[in-house]
């Protein structure tokens, strides 16, 4: 299912990575942030929304990074370049990610930032939408969000253009250790 997911997600312009361990994934994220110009200045900061992954890794290397914050507000999210969150599920047949986004912080980092980095447990890959909706109870999920690739439009002359109101890049990081292999 991972292969199918990768083909579908890359087909709509997402970037897909996979790591065996939490530490390897963390290393990747840190390197990525540094390479892409993380800094403590306007439009260069990163916001990391609360998630299980953060409880499993050594936060020290993260705390040393200038410009990375863990407190999510509208204002900080609006000026951040990177938004990082953990998505619970991935749908193989459409290359989509899904999350219970009832907490607004989860939505802010994934909708206002220019680059959204999404950590996903590899075991969260589901075959399709019916599999997802059978797992979600709307009574306990006031805001179910599905994300398929970066934000896009074709409203001017039918020319596909990436990055309108949402992120212009979606970087998906699967972590096997975050929940088994698939």
């Amino acid at each position: 299912m991972f292969q199918q997911f990768r083909i579908r997600a890359e087909g709509v312009g997402a970037e897909v990575h996979r790591f065996a361990t939490n530490d390897a994934a963390l290393d990747f994220v840190i390197r990525f942030l540094q390479d892409e110009g993380l800094a403590d200045s306007l439009q260069s900061t990163a916001l990391w929304a609360e998630c299980p992954f953060l409880k499993l890794v050594d936060l020290q290397p993260l705390l040393r990074l200038g410009g990375l914050k863990f407190e999510v507000t509208r204002e900080l999210a609006a000026e951040a370049r990177f938004g990082i969150s953990q998505m619970e599920w991935a749908l193989a047949d459409t290359g989509s990610l899904a999350q219970n986004s009832t907490a607004i912080e989860q939505r802010l980092v994934s909708s206002l930032a220019t680059i959204h980095i999404a950590l996903v447990p590899t075991s969260g890959i589901l075959p399709d939408m019916p599999a997802l909706l059978s797992r979600v109870n709307p009574k306990e999920c006031a805001y179910l969000a599905m994300i398929t690739g970066p934000s896009r439009t074709a409203d001017i002359e039918r020319v596909l253009t990436i990055g309108v109101h949402g992120p212009e890049r979606l970087v998906i990081v699967f972590v096997d250790e975050l929940g088994g292999a698939n």
Binding site: I104, R107, S134, V136, Y143, R152, T153, I156, T161, G163
Partner: protein
């Protein structure tokens, strides 16, 4: 037809930006849609959707109540009303109570339906559309030209001009740059807005959820950033169960833009927290605006199965020429014509219903399984019933209902048209009739109609009989097609009978809403055709075949003439189109087509009624192959040729460019013969080729098959 309307058509077909963008999109769409549906059984999927939606339409009240209960249990306030005026007042009241100064909106057709923006703006509230296309047309002071792609008619130069003016900054025409500019400009509006207004793609009664789909991500911001969210949802968006969203989510993006899924799907089931810890002030408005009346209408309840994908626009040969503005201000295209007739008023659809050429392309792709062409016909019928028919048409149809008079006039016309006839064509007509021969010559009316020639044909002794239904075109314009049919059928041991009392099949009257006339034609024909004892009633005109095999019955049904239906069914059971009958004879070994060795290259044009109404496309191809023709398929082989019966006479400015596209596609194949099964298509395409001057022979399949027999 109103002059204003004619002018809007003229403006649209001469707008190169519009026809260019729509034309390109429609060509790409067809290919990409098929790709998006790969591995999915579309018929099964749309079966599910139509079931879900028709159930919901039949249980609107019950589902509305259930939705209200469940959404309110999770912190939403649900407001239900029939009246668009009350919707506007409610939204204004919520805005006033909360001191709202600015509103951001994600795309919502329902808000456009009730003209919400000007109403709120008049009350001093700033309203910002955030869907890029909607923002563009808001800045331009226009209305959407397409339900899914509202600004498809505009060029990047025009957009750049608009943005430059709005932002007081000289911008280039680089599209990614323009999109960035919009992102920045709208981002501030999002962050400052006091209220977000969205529509809803689906509303789930079981859970009180609303589903929103966007590609740009604006609905996520509209529903997340402001502390107040109002979702305006038409009650036709209700479904019973949570699991019902799956088939709709599966079909909608594929049918709308050939995507597997939109970039963002949000399912909101109750109020969510704001960043300051307070709960979202969430209002959901369930709007009726005649939808419940529609649900009670035995014919139009079907239209509530629409999921608003606009695929009926994307495949429409007329829409791709004229775009949405011709259709009016809000809902456009095939389904738009129907929705306008209801949500606005029947009268408003008077002109736009005439745009439908009845080719059936939309019916084939509709994920809600709505018979759009049939519903447009029903609008026609009701308009004629309400308002009567223009005098000229009324006169024509009273003539058509009197066979002797009608056929007498056709004979007279053969003589009257003489001065304008060159060989087999009428190339130019004087004065106000000149449009009719613009880009297409008309066939000369035969000096001796088929009904007269028939009497002179000696047929060999045969053991089986078939009644031949000629139809006006074969009888009076192309009698040689009738003769060819006799030759082929005789060869298979079938004697052809031609009851003289047969007359026009009534399709022209029916397609113009004149059902009484059509019923008169049906009655005459049933009597004439069943007067002979034969195994088959065969026609070489698909439009006539559809009339005989289906429409007589439905015309009687519509008019409540149930006593006539059993005979109509008897006729329908015996009716068969020429190619299907011949294919059957070939398969039974009663006829061998290949009697000569040489192979000729041809291309084949699928006629609308044969391909889409009767689902026949392989039989004629197989017959032609067996007769020694090699088929080189043309691009868009099953797209309408623009004839549409009297359509080409009423709207020549639309019919002509559709024909030009067809001629282009035929010529591109490089072959010298084009075959088709419909004399109406022959009339249109042969006339077009005549004026074009290309050396291409336009033939009915029956002629090509007969020519290969000794």
């Amino acid at each position: 037809m109103a002059t204003e309307f004619k002018e809007s058509i003229h403006k649209a077909v001469n707008n190169a930006n519009l026809t260019g963008a729509l034309g390109k999109f429609s060509e790409a769409y067809k290919v990409n849609r098929v790709k998006a549906y790969e591995g999915i059984d579309f018929e099964e999927l749309r079966g599910q959707i139509s079931e879900i939606k028709s159930y919901a339409a039949a249980h609107q009240e019950e589902l509305s109540e259930l939705f209200t209960k469940n959404a309110e249990a999770h912190g939403a306030k649900v407001y239900r009303t029939k009246d668009p005026g009350e919707v506007r007042e409610y939204i204004l009241k919520v805005a006033m109570e909360n001191g709202v100064k600015t509103v951001v909106k994600s795309k919502s057709m329902a808000t456009e339906e009730i003209h919400l923006n000007p109403f709120l703006e008049n009350a001093g509230i700033e309203v910002g559309e955030t869907d890029l296309g909607e923002w563009i047309i808001q800045l331009a002071g226009q209305t959407p030209s397409h339900m899914v792609m509202p600004a498809i008619h505009m060029t990047k130069e025009e957009v750049s001009e608009l943005f430059s003016k709005e932002l007081d900054e000289r911008l280039s025409t680089d599209i990614p740059r323009l999109v960035k500019v919009a992102r920045t400009a709208l981002r501030d509006k999002f962050l400052q807005a006091d209220m977000g207004i969205s529509g809803g793609n689906i509303a789930v009664a079981e859970t009180g959820s609303i589903v929103l789909m966007t590609n740009e991500g604006n609905a996520r911001l509209v529903t997340s950033l402001p502390k107040i969210h109002i979702a305006l949802v038409g009650i036709e968006k209700l479904v019973a169960n949570f699991k019902d969203v799956v088939p709709i989510l599966t079909a909608l993006p594929k049918s709308a833009t050939a995507q597997l899924l939109t970039s963002y799907v949000s399912i909101i089931s109750g109020a969510t927290p704001n960043t300051d810890g307070s709960l979202k002030n969430l209002h959901i408005i369930l709007m009726d605006n005649r939808r419940s009346e529609m649900a009670d209408d035995p014919k139009f309840k079907q239209a509530l199965q629409c999921i608003r994908c606009a695929s009926c626009l994307n495949v429409c040969p007329v829409f791709r020429l004229v775009g949405g503005h011709v259709f009016g201000k809000i809902y456009t295209g095939g389904i738009g014509t129907i929705l306008t007739a209801w949500f606005d008023e029947l009268k408003k659809s008077e002109d736009i219903q005439g745009l439908c050429i009845q080719c059936g392309a939309c019916k084939d792709v509709c994920p809600g399984k709505i018979d759009i062409p049939e519903l447009i016909m029903e609008i026609r019928r009701r308009l004629v019933k309400d308002q009567g028919m223009p005098l000229l048409q009324k006169t024509i149809y009273s003539v058509v209902n009197n066979r002797r008079l009608f056929h007498g006039m056709l004979r007279a016309a053969s003589v009257a048209a003489k001065p304008f006839t060159t060989g087999k064509f009428v190339r130019h007509l004087p004065m106000f009739l000149a449009d009719l021969t613009d880009g297409r010559s008309l066939p000369a009316i035969a000096e001796k109609p088929f009904r007269d020639r028939f009497k002179e044909i000696t047929q060999p002794p045969c053991k089986e009989k078939a009644v031949f239904y000629g139809g006006c075109l074969i009888d009076f314009a192309y009698p040689e097609m009738g003769e060819a049919a006799i030759k082929v059928l005789n060869k298979a041991g079938i004697e052809v009978l031609f009851p003289e009392e047969q007359t026009c099949c009534g399709a022209p009257a029916r397609y113009n809403g004149a059902y009484e006339t059509a019923a008169g034609n049906a009655e005459s024909n049933i009597k004439a055709l069943l007067s002979e004892d034969a195994n088959y009633i065969v026609s070489a005109c698909p439009t006539c075949t559809v009339a005989l095999s289906r429409e007589f019955i439905s015309t009687f049904e519509s008019l409540g003439k149930t006593e006539l239906i059993p005979e109509a069914r008897k006729l329908a059971d015996k009716t068969i189109d020429f190619s299907t009958l011949v294919m059957k004879l070939v398969r039974e070994g009663r006829l061998t087509l290949k009697e000569r060795e040489e192979v000729e290259s041809i291309t084949y044009h699928d006629s609308c009624h044969l391909k889409r109404t009767m689902q026949i496309s392989e039989e004629p191809r197989e017959l032609l192959k067996q007769a020694g023709y090699e088929i080189h398929e043309m691009f868009e082989c099953d797209t309408c040729c623009g004839m549409g019966g009297s359509y080409s006479m009423k709207l020549p400015e639309i019919s002509a460019p559709i024909l030009q596209r067809k001629l282009h596609n035929i010529k591109e194949t490089g072959v010298k013969i084009v075959a088709m099964d419909c004399p109406g298509c022959v009339m249109q395409i042969r006339g077009g080729i005549d004026q074009d001057g290309a050396a291409i022979d336009v033939r009915h399949t029956v002629e090509l098959l007969a020519s290969k027999l000794e």
